[in-house]
Amino acid sequence: MRIGVVTFPGSLDDTDAARAVRYAGAEPVSLWHSDRDLRGVDAVILPGGFSYGDYLRCGAIARFSPVIGELIPAARSGLPVLGICNGFQILCEAHLLPGALTRNAGLRFIHADVRLTVSGARTPWTAGYTSEQVLTVPVKNGEGAFVADEATLDELERTGRVVVRYTDGAPNGSARDIAGICNAEGNVVGLMPHPEHAIDPLTGPSADGLGFFTSIVAAFAGSGLGART
């Protein structure tokens, strides 16, 4: 399986996302922000960082990059996409996911290991986890508070689109302790925590995050996922 990792100017966790793809047994493919080309990959990861310096709003400029221009229709036709941190912000700006990420409650950057509870959402990125499984994964963000209007939040809950929640309460003020959500089809997932930094206890708090990457590899192997693109 070939998984694209997009590098924007200011992307920082792109090498980490590529390493996680490698650990999961897939081939990472580097995608460049100004190329109107997804290079035929089977899934795409938008990594963490400060794309375009986070000028204007986090993700607001990246959303208009040529590579995202290609990604939007592909994602709408079923290409699996995982946005982590800044990637989540870009997916919201691109309207592939609802809501927005705003300044943390407390207005400071927060880096901490947090516990996440996997909810019942059915996505190819989380199929390897059991419902209610608790993961230890780091968060590191300055604008990580997920917000949406009440109707949207209700709908996310009703349709089972909350992917992970902060087990011990959101450290950043996220609505309803939401740490990650998916689109209606489940192929597009946005996460504020960083599973790519929890793939090996040597360099992270646990290996709990590897499941996001092995899940997509298993889903691809099992179902010809991605063929719809």
Binding site: L12, T15, F50, F109, L202, G204
Partner: protein, 758 residues
Amino acid sequence: MSGEDTIEVAAGTPEVAQPFKELGLTEDEYQKIRDILGRRPTAAELALYSVMWSEHCSYKSSKVHLRNLAPNADQSQYLLAGIGANAGVVDIGQGYAVTFKIESHNHPSFVEPHQGAATGIGGIVRDILAMGARPIAVMDALRFGPADAHDTARVLPGVVSGISFYGNCLGLPNIGGELAFDPSYAGNPLVNALCVGLMRHDDLKAAVAAGQGNKVILFGSRTGPDGVGGASVLASATFGGAEGEDRAGDDGGRAAKRPSVQVGDPFMEKLLVECCLELYAADVIEGIQDLGAAGVACATTELSAGGDGGMFVDMDAIPLRDPNLTPAEILMSESQERMMAVVKPERVDAFLAICRKWDVEAVVIGEVTGDGLLTMTWRGGTVVKIPPRTAADGPVYQRPYARPDTLDALQADGPQGLHRPADGAGLRDTLLSLLRSPGLADKRWVTQQYDSLVRGNTVLAMPEDSGLIRIAEETGLGIALATDGNGRYCALDPYQGTQLALAEAYRNVAMTGAVPVAVTNCLNFGSPEDPAVMWQLAEAVRGLADGCKHLGIPVTGGNVSLYNQTGATAIHPTPVIGVLGVHQDVRTRVGAGFTVDGAQVVLLGTTRDEFGGSAWAEVVHQHLGGRPPAVDLDAERKLASLVVAAASQGLLASAHDLSDGGLAIALAEACLRGGRGCVVTLPGDQFTALFSESAGRAVVSVTPGREAEFGALAEEHDVPAAILGVAYGDTLTVGDTFQIPLTELEAAWTGTLPAIFG
């Protein structure tokens, strides 16, 4: 012709009065410039000399002492480039080399904490980048006035947010550092930033402009009016008192200096880093220099002084943010995120194409010439024409120095008479009050604002004894880094205090299982015009040189920050020492926390009754006097090699060095870090055993079943090892003296900084 002050105008108007004093030059220095040029300098030349001859750029007061550090460096097997280059380069094996350096940004961080600290990170990162290395981690050593002082509430949160903002956006893990508080830093905080970079052996780049006809390219941000005179005005002069009253001859207080602080753009720096690395990989660069203090003046002077010819610069080609800048201002501007490269003409197109890919503006501003002169034109006139070495080398001063006459009284006022707790309850309270003190309390309020994980190779970071970064995924090769300094010890004895800082950083690196191999230093002192301060500086450098020689590790570079004082009062002399270690396999790393139930707890080293300058004397008695702990570098070396050997054999479950607050604080930290208590019995006087700060000690827990092996290894290394007890349970229990539940320890430790800073 413009109305500008060209060399012709200058030659014809020798009588024109020039503002050399305002630019920080003395009468003698100004005359020397006139002698060198055989005429008065132009306004642009005067600006150039003033920043190049500033204390910050020329090391004119410290150079005679720093020479003592060099001979040692030449002998090291590890060193690929040493003092004089932007940063030293150390061979770590397997074809890899690392370069690391620590630098101060003290004065800018006091004037404007957020931007001052942010640009401190930016500056040191460009230093490392200019060596040809990819920057891979940063650290910050911070010192402030009392935590509850009014101004600390302004300075500390700003400094931390600046480091967080710049380092996090740059994608560099912050793997450690220091946070200390002392009244001596109240009007002059210390913000020292360290960066480490990685390269292959043959990637080393030179800061020279060689090869006649090669092009000089300025790339990165545009040049603006920010930071004009930062090196000469900010970094090389004393601040006035709190109300802004100034020394005679000083041209302004805090407010007047605010525009001297630069403003950082970490996004631009991230682009510059990736752009430079791609330029290196494409092999299109002959020489490179970062623009830091003294901006274009420094880069052109140093590149041409280091090369074999001269340099011509067309100043009209320099991209400006503000078209009204004068040539003098352009030369002195410290606008951030700029680099200068020397490129062969046939490679200029390839160079510019890579810059375009990264959206980095790049312009050819001149070329290497054969006349040995640095020449600059602006609007048709020649505004600079100097022999570059005369600006780059600068004056050297033998400042008078004298042992301060107050030192005898200070050393005589030892801690012997201070009241010591006698019973279990008193010892228990003492431990908790030390743990609660801002200098020893949990630092997560700070470190939670730093990304320590980005790049995915961080194996250990704060609050571990040192940061540990994996270099090679296949072999586990890694590097460890620690910085230490103790201004209180150095106030009592700068020679010994500096060696104690060196020994502590050396020890901290070894605790992870890494072999210490190289040293960097940031020497923070008061005014060099004060003979007492110069004596402290001389003693500190002598202590460092002797210490490094004894330990067999070279000083690979460093930085001197002078004029750290408020009015007539200098800070404690504060050399901050960084030690780099090589870890053969980070998978065998050892952490500080007790993580294994039943693991035997062993104290390594010798404990004496040593409380001069201790945390106990400070926290409980607000006392500073006597002598700092004794230094035994042989014992340090034995301890380090024991821990490294034991770690590689898998004998250690944890290792934690003893420093401020002694064994009591080390045990408490090991319990809190591992989430596990311990039950120990301490030999001898309980107070001394708990709180003495004797150097050369560590507390380890031994892998169960390997106790006899470890005992034999300790004996073989000639390191005293006392079995204290076991790691176990949820209390810190010291014999029948006292017992503290972990929850109570945790509450005492974690509450302090959030209560003060919110």
